[in-house]
Symmetry: C2
Subunit: 291 residues, 2 copies
């Protein structure tokens, strides 16, 4: 954003190229997106999408299509009951999570749900596998454009705690999750396989980042944080009020080209190209559905 | 945050231990912090600390102690001139950066500064080296508690684009940075060694996360975003108005124990322990100076 170049300084340092060399013939990620066709995108399925409405705006959650199925069904049931409407984000820790729900059981007791930390998917799990090594998982990549880890040896797959992961919180002990949910505000990969991630925020993340930070309350008179106006399944919202979004398909050739373009940026701005991308640092393209 | 456990579900899944086993005799990160002594902490040096004042609150930046020295000196000079006072965060992209400064040269033209993408530190660079592999750098760790990368073969070190990294923006081409700065809102490691990081936010990150998102303006009549009230060197602020903070010293034994406790959480909440931590996912302890 600065237009002034001191020619003397540039001349003195001419040992480095003054402008980096673009990678010839290799498209940028922007060029790859421009060249996509309708087949490279999938519209979010309204039956598999949540809208978290807050006073700051709408947060759109893509629910998992293939993992943690009981959690997906359970949270949709809660949303359809109106369970979360009028509750709040009562634990918002900067750089960690925004957690919401019903800490003092104002909506009554609910039973617990069995953990789905990881799913048994066998040894032929079909997903977009990244070539990049990862410190937390044997393999990483994307399943229907949501980040996943895979342990082929044991036939297990799970969604990753990248930014925007949504999961149910739990107590100390197995199968203690029930209604309380959190969304990660930064990557928190150490939580992988210790809690059940069932989807990812694909729009409106800035509203969660802006929530007033608040420590978990100890009793109902404490600060309960900002309000959850409602959580609804998108299919239950009148069509005119929906956020019609589509996401770049992780099983499309464009996705593979996009990831590669992010690994080694071809444009001339970049001098150092790491030939690597962290699975949580690949921003997955989402856009309004073209009409 | 949910207290209800359905006994039937737990019994049905008793094949997994109902409560994970803590690692016997291994302290948690909280226990390590409790056991620290004054020597394990360093107070931020007011001469090497910036306060970015916004209408939402103060952002505290620890400037680099050992790298990008010209950038540190240059930004302190600008702060002492009052250069940034009354300017704004005019480019705030969720999940990417908050960029501030003077896009339309309202404060006059300024010369450019030579890049410090990385420093020549030789083959015996002293820093806290993590054992964890990293996809972007040969070695990673901390220098005076700020994240760094190191290429021993070429004797180069640089600060990492973890969340809260502060750097100068630039044009396409070497040595074109001048006054415009950005802070990363998420890890953006692909920028490492392509821009000059000179410090890190150690408090107040939530104010940057909450900034109104705004695209870069094309002319001075566009939305210029939220105001930077001032940027000052802490030493220039009356003592009574300072944020007296201390940071866990990365050259202390406590730091090493803390990182290890984060790699493998010893408390019983965790079933899966990755024996790994990403350098950008280790939250570095900062607290008010004990008086």
């Amino acid at each position: 954003m600065q237009r002034i170049v001191a020619a003397a300084i540039v001349a003195a340092l001419a040992v480095s190229p003054v402008v980096a060399q673009p990678i010839e013939g290799k498209p940028t990620s922007a060029e790859i997106l421009e060249a996509t066709t309708a087949d490279d995108w999938r519209a979010l399925d309204p039956e598999n999408t949540l809208y978290i409405e807050t006073e700051r705006g709408r947060i759109v959650v893509a629910l998992s299509t293939g993992l943690a199925k009981n959690h997906v069904a359970w949270v949709k049931t809660l949303a359809r009951e109106g369970f979360y409407d009028g509750l709040s984000f009562y634990r918002v820790i900067d750089g960690f999570v925004a957690q919401g729900g019903d800490p003092f059981l104002s909506h009554g007791e609910r039973s617990a749900i069995a953990d789905e930390f990881e799913d048994d998917v066998g040894k032929d799990f079909a997903f977009y596998r990244m070539k990049d090594k990862d410190g937390y998982a044997r393999q990483v990549g994307f399943l229907d454009s949501l980040p996943v880890g895979y342990d082929k040896k044991h036939g297990r797959a799970w969604h990753l705690h990248c930014t925007g992961a949504i999961a149910l919180g739990r107590e100390d002990g197995r199968n203690t999750a029930s209604t309380e949910f959190y969304v990660t505000l930064q990557p928190q990969r150490y939580l992988d396989r210790n809690l059940s991630v069932f989807g990812r925020v694909v729009a409106g993340m800035q509203h969660l980042q802006a929530l007033r930070r608040v420590d978990p309350p100890e009793d109902p008179h404490d600060d309960l944080g900002e309000r959850i106006v409602s959580i609804k399944v998108a299919a239950d919202v009148p069509e005119a009020d929906r956020s019609d979004l589509e996401i770049l398909r992780s099983d499309s050739p464009a996705f593979d080209a996009y990831i590669e373009a992010r690994r080694n940026r071809s444009d001339s701005f970049f001098y150092y190209r790491p030939d690597y991308i962290d699975v949580c640092q690949a921003p997955i393209p989402v856009r309004p559905v073209a009409n």
